[in-house]
């Protein structure tokens, strides 16, 4: 949420600029957006007509780059490097940060080996510096580093732009939550009823015992 | 509303809240 609040103003600024930018200006805007240290959201830009118009032009590569930053990872960039514009260092870093966000979506525990491979990092110190300075301190993920088990335990990861097909999964997850919550509430209600009835029985039993004891005292 | 969708996307991935062996033992 904090990441979203921080970047909301930025997104707005870039969208306003993009509304009047065409062709080369739009391509340059994409470069600025994908280099900005505090921006991790690109769907708003991707949905703008002037940006989509870049398709099939000499600046189509910039549009593809924007799509990559919206949904893709560092590995995907390397696999399509010849079809995409070269990245500046800030863009490389951002794409790696976005890759960490994507990996954090898939698992709660991320092994160092996987991270090093996916981020093209050769040693643990470099990996941990990236995770600490560029991910955790940037607020896009929260978690704990475990050197013994060589893994990063994710506690929180900011959301990336939605990929096609992701919406159904999200709806399905929320439906499952809803179902589990309703079942749990029913179970709790049943337990409350059971506790109440046991309490009633107990109270009646106590009264019977007291009444019998009183009778005996009177007869004696 | 892309911003909302991103927030929800982050939210739905937050469960299970903890997934470590130690937690599983304590929880059990």
């Amino acid at each position: 949420m904090e990441v979203e609040i921080k970047q909301a103003e930025l997104v707005e600024q870039f969208v306003v600029l993009a509304r009047s930018a065409r062709g080369r200006a739009a391509a340059e805007l994409i470069t600025h957006a994908t280099s900005h240290p505090s921006l991790f959201a690109f769907s708003e830009l991707l949905s703008l007509p002037h940006i989509l118009e870049l398709q099939g032009t000499e600046h189509a590569g910039s549009l593809e780059l924007l799509r990559l930053f919206a949904h893709g990872t560092w590995t995907e960039y390397k696999n399509n490097i010849h079809e995409l514009p070269p990245l500046q260092p800030q863009q490389e870093l951002k794409l790696k940060q976005l890759t960490v966000m994507t990996l954090a979506e898939t698992a709660k525990v991320l092994q160092y080996d996987l991270l090093m491979q996916q981020l093209d990092v050769s040693n643990v110190r470099e990996l941990e510096d990236l995770l600490i300075n560029d991910c955790m301190y940037a607020g896009i993920v929260r978690g704990k580093l475990d050197q013994r088990r060589r893994c990063f335990e994710v506690q929180f990861a900011a959301g990336r732009d939605l990929r096609p097909g992701q919406l159904e999964n999200m709806i399905s997850t929320l439906a499952t939550w809803l179902g589990n919550t309703e079942n749990l509430l029913l179970t709790i209600q049943e337990k409350i009823k059971w506790a109440d009835s046991m309490s009633d029985i107990d109270r009646k039993h106590k009264k019977e015992v007291e009444d019998k004891a009183e009778e005996l005292r009177k007869s004696i | 509303e892309h911003s909302l969708l991103r927030q929800i996307s982050s939210l739905v991935r937050r469960l299970p809240a903890i997934d470590s062996t130690k937690f599983q033992d304590d929880f059990l």
Partner: protein
């Protein structure tokens, strides 16, 4: 005795003009303030004690300065002179700073920075001076030993709006958020420090080094479940044995929770709370996030 006092005061003034601070202080300290012959009021005695203390401070003589400020502390409660009272407080704060009792100094500097009256004893206190006191408070807090007490003072300072306007604010923010401080940031901070704040300690590290290493160690404990001494040393910019020693000291002083496995060469950082409590906190956080989403939806008219 009256004439001797006058002569001593005159000589002290001359020494002061020559910037021979300790000599001036010694001259004044020869005045018998406990004389049975002269009736001296507490204000006069307090004034002398504070003056002597301030003079010794000019020569960075914390021991003698403290002796006289302690004498002054018995007299200050009866003093109605606001200017003198203020001088006493400033002097005490500086002595604590010089003696490296940084947390106590920070609290006193902070109190001074919150002075409401801008005119004391006919003298105007301007914003710059208050800002200086606030900066001194922040500096001393950062240099203080890392731990729960310092965290409380950091929170107070961080939440004080005035601090956001200070040059030193970025480092305050990082220290409060328990983030690792890198060498360029430490070097920049170092330039703002006084000599005694960069003094060499018996183990050949400086006051600043020790404060930064301990802070970074505590920051690391928030990021790692466990870490090898090799890697910890690399993170802190020191050797693994030194990293182990400092970690062991902080754990034994209860300023950090953890345990050391010397066989494996690893430090395990313990969380302050149990797994299940952590789970509870995570659930609370998720519920909060859910509420935030719902609020956002309402704001957008959904």
């Amino acid at each position: 005795e009256e004439q001797v006092s006058i002569i001593r005061e005159g000589l002290a003034e001359l020494y002061e003009n020559e910037e021979q601070w300790s000599k001036a202080a010694q001259m004044l300290s020869g005045i018998d303030l406990e004389s049975g012959i002269r009736m001296l009021d507490d204000t006069y005695k307090l004034e002398k004690c504070v003056k002597i203390s301030l003079l010794y401070l000019e020569d960075d003589d914390a021991i003698n300065a403290e002796t006289y400020i302690k004498k002054a502390s018995f007299l200050v409660n009866n003093c109605k002179d606001e200017a003198l009272n203020l001088q006493y407080k400033v002097c005490y704060a500086r002595i604590l700073d010089l003696k490296r009792k940084f947390l106590e100094a920070a609290l006193r500097y902070y109190e001074l920075s919150q002075l409401e009256k801008r005119e004391v004893g006919g003298r105007r206190i301007d914003e710059d001076e208050l800002q200086q006191a606030l900066t001194a408070a922040v500096t001393c807090t950062i240099l203080a030993a890392a731990g729960p007490q310092r965290s409380r003072v950091l929170a107070t300072l961080y939440k004080d709006e005035r601090c956001s306007k200070l040059k030193i604010y970025p480092i305050l923010q990082k220290v409060y958020l328990e983030r690792i401080l890198r060498k360029p940031e430490v070097d920049a901070f170092s330039e703002e420090l006084k000599p005694h704040q960069k003094a060499l300690l018996p183990d050949n590290s400086t006051v600043l080094d020790r404060a930064m290493i301990e802070h970074n160690l505590l920051s690391a404990s928030k990021l790692y479940t466990n870490i090898s001494f090799e890697e910890l040393g690399a993170l802190l910019g020191i050797g693994p044995q030194k990293a182990e020693k400092i970690a062991a000291r902080m754990i034994s002083e209860d300023r950090m929770r953890g345990s050391i496995d010397q066989v494996e060469g690893v430090i395990h950082f313990e969380n302050d709370i149990e797994e299940l409590q952590q789970w509870d906190q995570q659930i609370v956080s998720i519920c909060q996030a859910l509420n935030d989403v719902l609020d956002s939806m309402v704001k957008k008219g959904m």
